[in-house]
């Protein structure tokens, strides 16, 4: 369980995150929504160790993880994907996956000079695992393609795939849907649900597409102006007047002009 307690992050005088407190239950797929500039990404970045908090605390299963660097959080099983896909573009898709696990023998430079045999064995195992993941994500046909040449949606799947190379506990997804074709987004939603069910991953998802949120998330947390505005099931949230007022809106005003 990830617990955020009274978290603040200020930029100069501006309070991007202003005393947010929330919990992400183990095994859940928690949605995080809110108006532009509500502080969602900033909150993510603080939890993921990219930004130091101004004040407040983040704990994971009771352990204080506030301000740990991203690589340390990775080794604790806390993984994240990026709003804009951050693939290793000049490496092949398979290499993108094989580089993920930590503690490989061949990552210590002097061992690469003296322990070739052991490294080769480890590599073979890693390779097999990577191929399994690619199968799972239905992108094994591009295994040897440079990751930079993938389409936007495939890159997002690759992002997801990297989290499967190790035993992740919690995965943070930042706007997986923005700019992604809606049909593909459906595929991604299915993948998330399967990971959650089959492997017990906990997810926390930022997204503006309410269909997507409604399909996979429970509960949903709404942020506004750096604070938590509401929390509840997707249905409840979509009925919440405050949320409609500040975030969802009531549809087009100019509908009448459309058919004109």
């Amino acid at each position: 369980m990830i617990k955020v307690e009274d978290l603040h992050r200020h930029f100069g005088g501006f309070r991007a995150v202003d005393g947010a407190s929330l919990e992400i239950e183990t095994g859940s797929i928690t949605g995080l929504i809110g108006p532009n500039g509500a502080g969602k990404s900033t909150l993510f970045n603080v939890i993921a160790g990219v930004l130091p908090p101004t004040s407040g605390r983040v704990t994971m299963d009771g352990e204080d993880i506030t301000g740990l660097p991203p690589h340390a959080l990775f080794h604790k099983g806390l993984l994240r994907t990026f709003q804009l896909a951050h693939e290793f573009s000049s490496m092949t898709v398979r290499e993108n996956l094989m580089m993920v696990p930590g503690g490989q023998t061949g990552e210590t430079i002097w061992k690469t000079w003296f322990q070739r045999g052991r490294i080769d064995r480890e590599e073979a195992a890693l390779r097999q695992k990577a191929d399994e993941v690619l199968d799972f994500l239905t992108i094994s046909h591009v295994a040897n393609e440079k990751a930079g040449n993938l389409s936007g949606g495939q890159k997002k799947l690759l992002e997801l795939g990297r989290t499967m190379m190790v035993d992740a506990k919690v995965v943070f997804l930042d706007e997986v849907g923005a700019g992604v074709n809606r049909t593909l987004l459906g595929t991604i939603a299915d993948a998330i649900l399967r990971l959650n069910k089959e492997r017990g991953y906990t997810f926390c998802v930022i997204e503006h597409d309410m269909d997507f949120i409604g399909k996979i998330c429970d509960p949903v947390i709404v942020m506004a102006e750096g604070k938590v505005l509401a929390k509840g099931s997707a249905q409840d949230i979509m009925q919440n007047e405050d949320v409609i007022e500040s975030y969802l809106g009531r549809g087009l005003k100019n509908k009448d002009m459309v058919s004109a």
Partner: protein, 443 residues
């Protein structure tokens, strides 16, 4: 885009062909005598040897830039630091230096280091600036109290000939390793500061440390006599005069049709060449082994996308520090080798144009990210750098022949030595133009 075009045009034969051309240049330099080449094997080998040292330096820079994208503009400093090693390791001990203040000096350096460590500890424990400042001040006073008299005593010890702490009288080859260690230690300190916070300004930090190291070598006479220079550093290879005095060698030389003086020069240079080649190839072997394993994959990932690598559990800062230290160590080794070959340690000669910019030119021209490219670029650029000394004036002499005699012609002929810069610039621009990713681009 040009880059993709060039990558598409890169054939597997490119590197071998270029190396063959380079070899041909050296053979021509050794055999053909005309306005382009000198026709002397001694010259040819001398250029090659220095080229090999440059190649090792370029390999170090290439590790930092090509593998990890770290921009090191303090190459001159790390070279100089490496050059200190032969002085402190291989030179015979200076009589009276240690007894006059050596121990006290060591103690003072120890106190200096200790102060920094204590300050660091005080900061992590108490987070109080006042206490840290107190520790630093006390440490500084203690350090100076120990340091100053020791230095005075050492420098007063026969200043015309020595005035320095002297060496340990160990084999000079050992000093190559030590030179690497010196540079590595300095790189660790710089990297801790500059890489720890943000790598944005590594360039300026290294530029600074380069200047500082050279300034220290110039002004701290107790270390290596400062600007008064150290000469006669022991060699790992025989001396020419000894060879010339050896009848067996003279016979051997005559049997090959060489004069004794010429043959001795060639022999010594070949010995050096062998040593340098062993070092160069070992470094390349180790580097390629590392690059072709998960370590290399990790480094490529970090270079590709630091943020993502960090999120994938790779400690980017630590890896950057590692590569920076390794690369600097290689540069340090090259620095020690250079001093060994020159037999002279002259801190005034370390200027950034020659030892930083020229090395960078070598790496970029060769093709950064590719070890063989760096080697090719280094040897080629060094060859040109030396040869433009005569090519430049010859070229200008040729160009002005049609001019009538007069002030302009004399002025141009007088300025001929400056063609060295012009030709160098032209070569660089031409290579960049036709091979913007370098002669042997990274695969």
């Amino acid at each position: 885009m040009a880059t993709t075009r060039q990558a598409a045009a890169t054939s597997p034969w490119r590197a071998p062909i270029l190396f063959a051309i380079l070899a041909l240049l050296f053979v021509l330099e050794g055999t053909v005598r005309n306005s382009m080449f000198s026709g002397s094997w001694n010259t040819s080998l001398a250029i090659l040897n220095m080229g090999l040292i440059s190649a090792i330096t370029a390999l170090g820079v290439n590790m930092q830039w090509g593998y990890a994208g770290l921009f090191n503009v303090g190459v001159v400093g790390f070279l100089a630091l490496g050059g200190l090693a032969p002085v402190l390791i291989a030179l015979p001990p200076v009589e009276g230096a240690w007894s006059s203040g050596g121990m006290r000096l060591l103690l003072s350096l120890f106190v200096g280091m200790g102060t920094l460590a204590m300050a660091k500890m005080a900061w992590t424990r108490t987070r109080s600036g006042l206490i840290v400042a107190g520790v630093l001040l006390a440490g500084f006073v203690a350090y100076r109290w120990l340091f100053d008299p020791a230095v005075l005593a050492i420098e007063a010890n026969n200043p015309a000939r020595h005035g320095n702490i002297g060496g340990l009288g160990l084999p000079v080859l050992l000093s190559w390793v030590v030179g690497g260690l010196f540079a590595a230690a300095a790189a660790w300190a710089v990297g801790k500061v500059a890489l720890g916070l943000r790598s944005d300004y590594l360039a300026i930090a290294t530029l600074g440390i380069g200047e500082i190291i050279v300034a220290v070598l110039k002004n701290e006479d107790w270390l290596a006599r400062g600007v008064k220079n150290i000469t006669s550093i022991p060699r790992p290879v025989p001396y020419e005069v000894d060879l010339q005095a050896n009848p067996d060698f003279v016979d051997f030389a005559t049997s090959w049709g060489f004069g004794a003086a010429e043959a001795s020069g060639i022999w010594v240079k070949l010995c050096y060449m062998l040593l340098f080649l062993v070092v160069l190839l070992t470094i390349i072997l180790l580097a390629e082994l590392a690059l072709k394993s998960p370590w290399g994959r990790m480094m490529r990932a970090i270079r590709d996308n630091e943020t993502a690598a960090e999120a994938m559990g790779k400690d980017v800062t630590a890896r950057h520090l590692q590569v920076f230290v390794l690369g600097s160590a290689v540069i340090g080794i090259a620095g020690a080798m250079m001093i060994t070959q020159d037999g002279l340690m002259a801190p005034t000669s370390y200027n950034p144009l020659r030892y930083t910019f020229l090395i960078w030119v070598m790496v970029i021209v060769g093709g950064s990210g590719n070890n063989w490219g760096a080697v090719l670029g280094a040897i080629l650029i060094w060859f040109i750098w030396i040869k433009v000394e005569i090519w430049g004036p010859n070229l200008i002499g040729f160009l002005v022949t049609p001019l009538p005699d007069g002030d302009l012609k004399t002025h141009l002929l007088d300025s001929a030595p400056h063609m060295r810069f012009i030709v160098m610039g032209l070569v660089l621009l031409l290579v960049l133009r036709f091979a913007p990713r370098g002669l042997v681009p990274e695969r």
